[in-house]
Symmetry: C2
Subunit: 317 residues, 2 copies
């Protein structure tokens, strides 16, 4: 059994392979060629902690994945990171454990970054260049870096907005250190109006942006809402959009941004757009919204990519 | 993080400590002092395989457990065991991984053996001595051994019945090698009539025993039914019993032997009997039935017992 820590995982990680694997996972999910049983969640109010266990399998692949991710929000007070966890890979032929990927949550961060970037690239209007990122955490950085890396022929200009201006400033600074054109902005309404793409990645529980601020042709990728009560976009913005896309409608309508829609809403699966079974955006004036809640099969895809790289390395030694 | 294989786990295992831990887990479960989110299951029909992921936490303990167990029933054709899996323990204060227990399913077998033995000891009539075990697999052996070990002052006489007489014979032989008084029997109806305790542990999908065969005062512990469609006891036997006990009614009524009861049935939680909040059996003529489907908090209890033993060993070195 392969046992890798975070450093070893990062060394084996290949952006192009991972992004293709995740694209294929979205397509397999849209085509119901996946198994994603219920997510298990535990809560530890005394330690401000939570745990989430996701299990997933993409039919036809060599392994299934069980991902344990934890968030304990008092950890930083004791010098520990809030996030932790691991991905476990098991053989789909024998059930034997194949790999323990002790990624401390890094694979989740990167598959979320890649998922957002794939959705944004697929749905933004042609020739888009200005991107507003709302949020200043780790995922804000991943979204910007993954999107730039996924569109290498394009010079994207990122604006970063956060409730805390100092944090927005330092997020932009971090991105510039990685060669990305990024500055922080203060006026959210103005920044929304100037953006061709908006990416939201905050834990907000009330709408941050409203339809009045959004110009025709804007694409929005919403990543923050992942449990009941969370919300980043106003209802009027969602209902004014011409195209609603999600990673999996069962999750999006229950846990995601689209939980605030009428229950008979039927957003389109991202996989159908990526596979060109659905045309996606058809002109440069539509407002489009992609809501991503995160799929267990993204974890499976990225974990299998690491496992294959590790096996290849062992073979070539 | 502690990483133990099956041999190391077996070496650290202490029967009395584990049995007390599992008793406390049943009590905590009955008192709703546990968290047991939905079980995740995957199916691999091409390899006759299945995977089950159970997550559990007993409030007030130091860690929560994620258990991955697999059964791939073509493995023996290739010289591999059908069962595999591991228990993972995480800190309830920080979310950090504490232990990987690569038990290959052994901890599940033993906690199931102990759970059955605890239920049998609590519910059988006073002075019971004759025990019929229906089933010839690994769990039949665990049930007999755990029950004898849990009642050391008693000389139990075990009868073993199976559809395959040769297997019943070899199960009895195995038990005798461990100093247990056991013989195989051929006539199931006759053996039921002569037994004070009956333990069923088969994957049967139709009733094996019926009320006509059962004498007053008999206690039955039913372990086999753990998914829709499985059944070991006839409905008339269940409805004729004076006391129905289960490990967790939500599971028992959906997956266990009591799935065949009317949906408004309310079996008593074993933990209430173990804690003496419920009197359990009140005379030596009642027929009692305990249906056990297996709780994630049993996995948590037995895993924490191993973790504590490992930490103690490290401290004393």
């Amino acid at each position: 059994m392969i046992d890798l820590n975070k450093d070893q995982i990062q060394e084996l990680f290949d952006f192009s392979i991972a992004s293709e694997a995740i694209q294929n996972a979205f397509i397999a999910s849209a085509q119901n060629h996946t198994q994603t049983p219920p997510i298990a969640q535990l809560a530890f109010p005394a330690s401000q902690g939570e745990c989430c266990v996701k299990t997933g399998f993409i039919e036809g692949t060599e392994g299934f994945v069980v991902k344990v991710s934890t968030g304990f929000y008092r950890n930083p007070d004791n010098g520990l990171p809030s996030s932790n966890g691991m991905n476990l890979v098991f053989c789909a032929q024998t059930g034997a454990p194949l790999a323990i990927l002790r990624d401390e949550g890094w694979l989740t961060d990167i598959r979320t970054g890649l998922g957002g970037a794939l959705a944004t690239k697929a749905l933004a209007k042609s020739g888009f260049g200005t991107v507003l990122v709302i949020g200043t955490g780790l995922q804000a950085r991943h979204q910007a870096r993954c999107l730039q890396q996924l569109t290498p022929d394009r010079s994207l200009s990122f604006k970063i907005w956060g409730r805390d201006t100092a944090k927005a400033h330092s997020t932009a600074e971090d991105l510039r250190k990685h060669g990305i054109d990024a500055v922080s902005v203060i006026d959210l309404a103005e920044a929304c109006g100037a953006a061709e793409v908006i990416i939201t990645c905050t834990p907000s529980r009330k709408p941050l942006i409203t339809s009045d601020w959004i110009e025709p042709g804007t694409h929005i990728t919403a990543l923050g809402a992942d449990s009941p009560g969370k919300q980043e976009l106003s209802i009027n913005l969602i209902t004014s959009a011409e195209l609603l896309i999600c990673d999996a409608s069962s999750q999006s309508l229950q846990l995601g941004e689209f939980q605030h829609l009428p229950p008979n809403s039927r957003p389109i699966c991202l996989g159908h757009v990526l596979n060109q079974d659905h045309p996606g955006r058809t002109n440069d004036t539509q407002i489009t919204i992609a809501d991503l809640t995160g799929l267990a099969v993204q974890d499976a895809a990225v974990s299998l990519a690491i496992l294959r790289a590790a096996n290849l390395q062992n073979t070539s030694l």
